[in-house]
Symmetry: C2
Subunit: 555 residues, 2 copies
């Protein structure tokens, strides 16, 4: 069963956020560096960091950007308690100047400005997703927490979007990963961001409570195996849906249906499990309009399906509406086809039209690959439940976001590595998404923030990143600026979105993406390019660096 709920996201999140992501939840070196900056009098220097990832996850052509709202709550609540500072005092070297701890006590993010791609946007490798500007020591201290909040949220959201693409638009997707996630909060984060990425339902009740995600679930095998005989069924009667007549003996009614079902499908009554029937009866009497049992605790064909049909037919006779069945093992496609066949047979033979709208839920260690295969085969599965492979992102369990310094005191900074992949792009930037005449994005242009934006219909030349080619000339039909100001002077700039709103944004953003970039295997790679001025700055700094690094001679 599934039930929507009102979103209590903002209030509940904010209340517990400081406790969930305290400013000590970071790497120690952020504090040792902050101290060294402070000691050198550099802690207030204006600095700018960028957050990005170097490769699209799962061998795909895109990613989704998620975690921004959590970052904003983190910035808003970033403040050290006396207890935090005392602990730092005990951990940093004894020679640390006590005035530094006084400095930490007064610290907050009122000097920090965050510009960002909006939450739920399709993004690509190497595009800066967030720009964090503020006093050097503060923006350095934020690094690990921001990475932690963006990395998994974006990864699992992208994974969910891939499952959504693999499943096709019609099939409902149910997230079941709580028990396999990295602890309680890993499970909550997974439920939230897989919903945003395209899942419809979650089994996680707390996620329903906090984020308003529709929750679903009915029955485990333990419920079935906890029953042994029909003696355990109580109450034994059920009233008709219209409530006009006295309750009837529901067990006898169901037994009658069971004989008829066995007859029409040619099943052996001797193989039917009494405990399973008792479990189904009990559940149906408790929830006559939410009956969706798991039917493979023993044998689908010899017992579970027959027991389901008997109970469901009895429910229908009383005017109730059974919901469907869950298959949790074996070949889901083949079984779903047989199950649907028996539903149709019952519907026709007994003239019960409600049997045509029963749903079949499949849950059996589904991976992206098995979802693709399932989608390609004949099957009758309406809802797919996914747990382990979704929340642990088996195919690639980490996104690898990084946080790099690009400007200090108004001067562009660049890490010029021996490994060209690890070199960074200097300076404060603007990012524009260029769309073709059909409205598909075809290139993300990374410019210096001071440059004028590209104009629709006007050709421009730019330098694709990661390619050895020189410049290319492109003409956008439309131009979208990717950044929004998200946080400034201690305040979140826009109201936070609910999970449902961000989920809708994800689907809109994905819809405009051309299928060639969206396909799950061997996608065509999307171009991210530097503007001419930015490319010139890179070349200049590279040259400068090789001409001008010899301080022994120059000083």
């Amino acid at each position: 069963m599934a039930a929507p709920s009102s979103s209590t996201c903002d209030g509940a999140m904010a209340r517990s956020f400081r406790e969930r992501v305290p400013p000590l939840l970071t790497d120690l070196y952020q504090f040792t560096m902050a101290y060294a900056y402070w000691r050198a009098g550099r802690h207030q220097e204006p600095a700018v960091f960028e957050l990005f990832f170097r490769d699209n996850p799962f061998g795909g052509g895109f990613s989704l950007f998620a975690g921004l709202d959590d970052c904003l709550l983190f910035l808003r609540s970033f403040r050290f308690t006396d207890e935090d500072v005392e602990f730092l005092c005990s951990v940093l070297p004894a020679t640390t100047d006590p005035a530094f701890f006084q400095f930490l006590r007064g610290l907050d993010c009122s000097g920090v400005t965050l510009r960002s791609v909006p939450e739920g946007t399709v993004v690509f490798a190497r595009v800066p997703l967030m720009e964090v500007a503020g006093p050097l020591a503060v923006v350095q201290l934020l690094e690990t927490s921001l990475l932690c909040l963006v990395n998994y949220a974006s990864l699992v959201c992208s994974n969910a979007a891939r499952f959504r693409l693999a499943a096709g638009p019609q099939r409902k997707l149910l997230e079941l990963g709580l028990r396999r996630a990295q602890g309680p909060d890993g499970g909550l984060t997974a439920s939230r961001y897989t919903h945003i990425g395209g899942f419809d339902l979650t089994s996680n009740v707390q996620a329903g409570f906090l984020f308003g995600i529709p929750v679903a679930g009915t029955m485990a095998h333990s419920y079935v195996t906890s029953f042994n005989s029909l003696e355990e069924v109580w109450p034994r009667t059920l009233a008709a849906a219209d409530g006009d007549l006295d309750p009837v003996d529901f067990i006898s009614l169901t037994k009658g249906w069971l004989s008829r079902v066995c007859e029409i499908v040619g099943a052996e009554p001797a193989k039917i499990r009494e405990g399973e029937l008792a479990a189904f009866l009990s559940y149906a009497i408790a929830y006559p309009n939410n009956f969706l049992p798991v039917i493979d605790s023993y044998s689908v064909g010899c017992s579970g399906l027959l027991n389901f049909c008997a109970v469901a037919l009895a429910l229908c006779e009383l005017g109730h509406r059974p919901v469907g069945v869950r298959l949790d093992s074996g070949d889901l496609c083949r079984q779903s086809v047989s199950v649907r066949g028996v539903f149709r047979l019952c519907s026709q033979h007994f003239s019960v039209p409600d049997f045509n709208s029963l749903i079949i839920v499949g849950t059996n260690n589904i991976s992206e690959q098995s979802m693709i295969e399932l989608n390609g085969k004949e099957n009758e599965i309406d809802v797919v439940g996914v747990g382990t492979h979704l929340v642990t992102c088996t195919k690639q369990p980490s996104l690898g976001c990084v946080y790099k310094l690009v400007e200090v005191r108004g001067k562009p900074r660049m890490k010029i590595s021996e490994d060209p992949e690890k070199s960074t792009v200097p300076g404060r930037k603007a990012v524009y998404r260029l769309l073709d005449a059909e409205g598909h994005p075809f290139l993300d242009l990374v410019c210096l923030a001071v440059e004028p934006p590209p104009e629709p219909g006007v050709p421009l030349s730019c330098y694709p990143m990661g390619a050895q080619t020189s410049s290319v000339s492109v003409t956008p039909a439309q131009v979208r600026s990717l950044y929004l100001e998200a946080f400034t002077t201690g305040q979140v700039s826009h109201p936070l979105s609910s999970a449902a709103e961000t989920r809708a944004k994800v689907q809109t953003s994905l819809q405009t993406l051309h299928p060639r970039h969206k396909r799950l295997q061997d996608p065509e790679s999307y171009t991210v390019a530097l503007s001419e001025r930015l490319q010139n700055l890179v070349s200049e700094l590279r040259r400068g660096s090789s001409n001008n690094s010899n301080f022994l001679l120059s000083n």
Copy 2:
């Protein structure tokens, strides 16, 4: 740098536990089943569930059991708030009897008894790790939360133990995974349980604060690249360690050393990065006894190593003690050998014995495989930092623990699946670990709880699980009972352990394990066997099930 800290584990954990793991953090079907039990008047029936996993993780021969203390805190704090119940009211079908919500309001774990393998014990697939006994509806409700708390804790703890085995006992291991974990709490859980599994240090400050784990870390590349010239170094002087003399011009002192270092290693001064030297100087002036910079922001051989040696020699001249260097890219082994060579050369040439005790830290996307390779090659790495592969458990990101019903109302229950792997073992159990004459465990014996324990020196026959063989006869030299009572009548039975205590238990437990079960690749499989009486019960229930399931004839 590393600093120990007092453990504030118990207090801080307990305070926030109810918020971190509320009783709504579970799958919806636990509530629909609980309602069906309640409706059928079965909710108070005494029931017993077992928690276990079916395969040792990472293709290994063992696992570690972790997460118990969190489960105990969860049981202790398990109580529904009015807000929780109101939410459930909105989510469960409208036909749910309101008296059920009244029942939930009064629910706690005072009727639950948990017997368990102690936290930090070496365990094997199919051995029941926890036995949860209590009222059917309550112990059913606990399922998802207990699985969530044990699954990842045990997995990441086992992963850490494998890294520890791969690294050898001497090398220090530093956990760096926070930014790549499943959100904030995933990162905290990882830091805690990797320490328990054998890591020495963490970069995660909050983990130090909550669990008393020694924290470590000094400098990121951004710190290095934030400096451009020696003009930025301030203060420019440093006093000698004994504090007797006036501070000296530390920049000039270091420049002098840099010329000498370049001379003895034959390096070109022209290739040295001034910004890097400025960063090192600044850091060394802030922390003269904790100087451990990252030396590969530009080029180890042409710049980073030379700058380090110059600053470190200047520190030594003033009586301070530099700590060492970090390498973060490239071939760590080869580089560490060159770096050590230069340290030795400096030590000899300049008669600076402290250069012989400098440490080399290596961090570069280390996996279990690369740790094994590293350990097999010539290298001079004293501390290895591991992040992504450790916390995401890339090799197998989920343990797959399950929670199965084994007894209701004193009657053993068994799931008899068409897939024999998925059948369960019925009844309440005791587990004994049998040791050979050398003190190595060689077999875990799963018995019925009512059976007398096996006796040292007395042969017994038992049935290895998962094997097609019939019984084997074994004679233990020693017998250890694996279970302890951990929770009863609403109370935790023993004081919770600190991370350090459990960590010590892990090493003791691992030490007794024979190397053939401990080796990382192709380990010999450890035998888990059923007692004769338990095997008889299984056979009896299988037979009973095939003879006695036809209710249509028998009723």
